[in-house]
């Protein structure tokens, strides 16, 4: 029962939130009818004229938007999502930087290392598979990220939406 009420409230909040966003950001797209509805909500000035269209159109709407934000932020899954995704994102970004700058620093400080043949009697140097390897690594890292995002992060994100909205 409590949950049902919460969902209902959240739905209303969400509807108002998206309505609020639309009035602020897509004024031009709104049809005349929708505008009437918006003004009927009691907004005294046209939001597009507001200096801070996303935070302070009217007090009532601000509170509702904040309520939704707080509902999401108090959901433990949201924190799980944020901490998992940001630590993974930073880890992958740093990994890419380490790979790239590692390659560059070898070129700068130990070029002869890259200029040695892959095996005795070969012309190909180990710099070539390493350079191509950096390109492949960049692609592989995006592949790993997308795999994890499509499974773990999207799943969490959908659960949050189901619970809060």
């Amino acid at each position: 029962m409590v949950k049902a009420t919460r969902i209902l409230c959240a739905c209303v909040f969400f509807a108002r939130l998206t309505d609020h966003k639309r009035t602020c950001r897509e004024l031009a797209i709104l049809e005349q009818g929708a505008r009437t509805v918006r003004f009927a909500h009691g907004s005294r000035q046209a939001p597009a004229n507001s200096r801070y269209p996303h935070s302070s159109t009217t007090h009532g709407k601000l509170t509702m938007q904040q309520d939704l934000v707080h509902a999401i932020k108090s959901n433990p899954k949201y924190h799980e999502l944020v901490s998992k995704r940001s630590s993974f994102g930073w880890f992958m970004a740093i990994l890419m930087l380490v790979i790239y700058y590692g390659f560059i620093l070898i070129i700068a400080y130990a070029p002869s290392f890259l200029a040695q043949p892959v095996a005795a009697g070969w012309t190909m140097t180990i710099g070539i598979p390493i350079g191509v390897g950096v390109i492949l690594a960049a692609f592989a890292l995006t592949g790993i990220f997308i795999h994890r995002a499509n499974t773990v992060f999207d799943e969490l994100s959908n659960q949050i939406k189901e619970e809060v909205l």
């Binding site: 200096r51 790239y100 700068a108």
Partner: protein
């Protein structure tokens, strides 16, 4: 055959050419008309104009015009991003660098690629969740509209104009060489076509021009690379072996081309160049804009995955083509001038190689692809510039959000014409200028202005308008000043003696990007205004939308 492009170009030519007529009158490297190339290019133009007509029927709202209705799939957008990013300069330039310096070309292409994973991990989904049509939407999400839109639009316009000049001049020279067309005609034709695509077809036409071009370029490069490898029995080792023999002798093969050479000598320069390429890629307005053409964050990340794959694969192909060129071209009198140098410069290495392995039809095909490549890139740039004028400056700064959608799109179309004419005029004016510094400057500005304000607005709750404006301006000014007082402009263009440049490096990013971030950080922390407090408070809601996509553009429509 020659009459046709001329007729096509005449109206604009009259506008453009009178002031610069003398400069264009002396074609130095003009060759005979390349008929297969022209036929294939005209086919491309006919197809893309057909698409533009089709796209124009479907471009009804501002969202259609700026963001292709947000309806592209990740794969389509991945192709389009690759089409936007793989310029003729990177195809011909990197192959030319490999031809000249061997291994060093690989170092360079790696730098062009590594920005993409960072865009995926840090920018792509966030951009889609927070923005609408331009990256300025994201930075004004909680910051003040007028100053931030102005700053973002300035960063966009500087990048777009600099990039356009480089593309136009490169294109004019390339087409003069490949098609035997006069430089001025070439530049005017490109200007006229790009205006047509963008003005009538908006983002839908631009995206499809880029998708087709990416397909042609990847297909063409694959074909040449296969034909090249076929010459070596599909053994890269054999290719490397023959290249070192051609550059040296059978007894003493030249092994210098197989390892790092002179491209990276100072580690500081290398780090600086790497920063410009990585963060600059993530600050290019025409690239950032592409993330609004997909329906949601999932497709945004998918776009980057495909784009990274295509671009990386393409760079591997250019490396093969460049090394094969060493074998095929270095001692082949057909492709050398009287002095024994490669005909029309090292940038032609890939083109000569295509002629060597595939004959005149392959040459024609690759020439047409190079032309198409330029068109796709300049169209994307023009659309990004026009959007900054109409969506950021006109609708949000001058009209204070009171402009309606039709007015905004109308301004965008007029800006497209204006930008097209400016690009043509600058292309003609810069014909005989040294423009080598332009690419570096473009990436430095993108990395030092657009990227820091975008990155900090997404990730840092304490960012304030004052900090972003001051820091962004510091980045922009530092980047421009360091390029001007650096060796490329100071010594080579302004003619001061060698070694007199006040800033000793060609690469300003390490200083200018750091200065921008420091400026943003310090001036945000020093900002204790009421405005700043509101901006801190608004971060929470922004971050929730950024993380979950709840309330994002497009998310509400289904």
């Amino acid at each position: 055959m020659r009459l046709l492009p001329v007729t096509l170009a005449t109206p604009l030519l009259l506008l453009a050419s009178s002031a610069f007529a003398q400069q264009a009158a002396a074609p130095a490297v003009q060759k005979t008309l390349n008929i297969p190339a022209i036929v294939m290019f005209l086919t491309f133009v006919a197809v893309t104009l057909g698409i533009t007509y089709w796209a124009a029927q479907r471009t009804k709202t501002a969202k259609d015009f700026y963001a292709a209705g947000g309806s592209l799939t990740g794969l389509q957008n991945g192709f389009a991003i690759a089409g936007d990013y793989m310029s003729a300069a990177s195809f011909l330039g990197i192959a030319g660098l490999v031809y000249t310096a061997g291994f060093d070309g690989l170092i360079y292409s790696v730098g062009w690629l590594v920005g993409w994973p960072l865009i995926m991990f840090m920018i792509a989904e966030q951009l889609k969740n927070l923005g609408k049509f331009t990256f300025a939407d994201v930075v004004t999400y909680r910051l003040q509209r007028v100053p931030m839109r102005t700053l973002a639009a300035t960063g966009t316009m500087v990048v777009v104009i600099l990039y356009l000049i480089g593309q136009m001049v490169g294109a004019g020279k390339l087409i003069q060489t490949l098609f035997g067309l006069d430089y001025t005609y070439a530049v005017v034709i490109i200007g006229a076509l790009m205006i047509t695509y963008v003005m009538f077809g908006g983002m839908i036409a631009t995206s499809w021009v880029q998708i087709i071009k990416a397909g042609l370029l990847l297909g063409g490069a694959t074909l040449i690379a296969i034909l090249c490898l076929w010459h070596f029995g599909f053994s890269p080792e054999e290719m490397f072996k023959q290249a070192t023999i051609v550059r040296g002798s059978a007894e003493a093969p030249n092994l210098k081309i197989m390892g790092p050479g002179t491209l990276v000598t100072s580690p500081i320069d290398a780090i600086s160049l790497g920063m410009a390429l990585m963060f600059g890629t993530a600050g290019l307005p025409h690239i950032l804009m592409r993330f609004f053409t997909v329906p949601d964050a999932k497709q945004a990340r998918r776009s980057v995955f495909y784009a990274t794959g295509f671009i990386g694969y393409f760079y591997i192909l250019t490396f093969i083509i460049g090394f094969s060129a060493i074998v095929f071209i270095t001692k082949n009198p057909d492709y050398l001038d009287a002095a024994g140098k490669i005909l029309n410069g090292s940038n032609m290495a890939a083109i000569h190689t295509s002629a060597f392995v595939g004959g005149p039809y392959m040459l024609g095909f690759i020439s047409a692809v190079a032309f198409a490549t330029i068109l796709a890139v300049v169209s994307g740039l023009t659309l990004a510039g026009a959007s900054a004028i109409s969506h950021d400056l006109y609708a949000n700064v001058f009209a204070h959000g009171r402009a309606n959608e039709q007015q905004e799109v109308f301004v965008s179309k007029m800006s497209t014409i204006g930008l097209g004419i400016i690009a043509v005029l600058l292309g003609i004016a810069f014909e005989n200028q040294n423009i080598a510094f332009l690419v570096g400057l473009t990436f430095a500005v993108a990395a030092s202005t657009n990227f820091p304000i975008l990155f900090m607005s997404i990730f840092w709750s304490k960012l304030t308008t004052r900090g972003a404006v001051i820091g962004g301006a510091i980045g922009l000014i530092t980047a421009v000043v360091l390029v001007v007082i650096g060796p490329t402009v100071w010594e080579e263009i302004l003619g001061y003696p060698k070694g007199s440049a006040l800033y000793p490096s060609k690469y300003p990013a390490i200083i200018s990007v750091t200065a921008a971030f420091l400026g943003i950080w310090i001036f945000s922390l020093l900002d204790s205004s009421e405005q700043a407090k509101r901006e801190h408070a608004a971060y929470e809601a922004q971050d929730v939308r950024c993380q979950t996509g709840i309330g994002a553009e497009g998310a509400t429509s289904h």
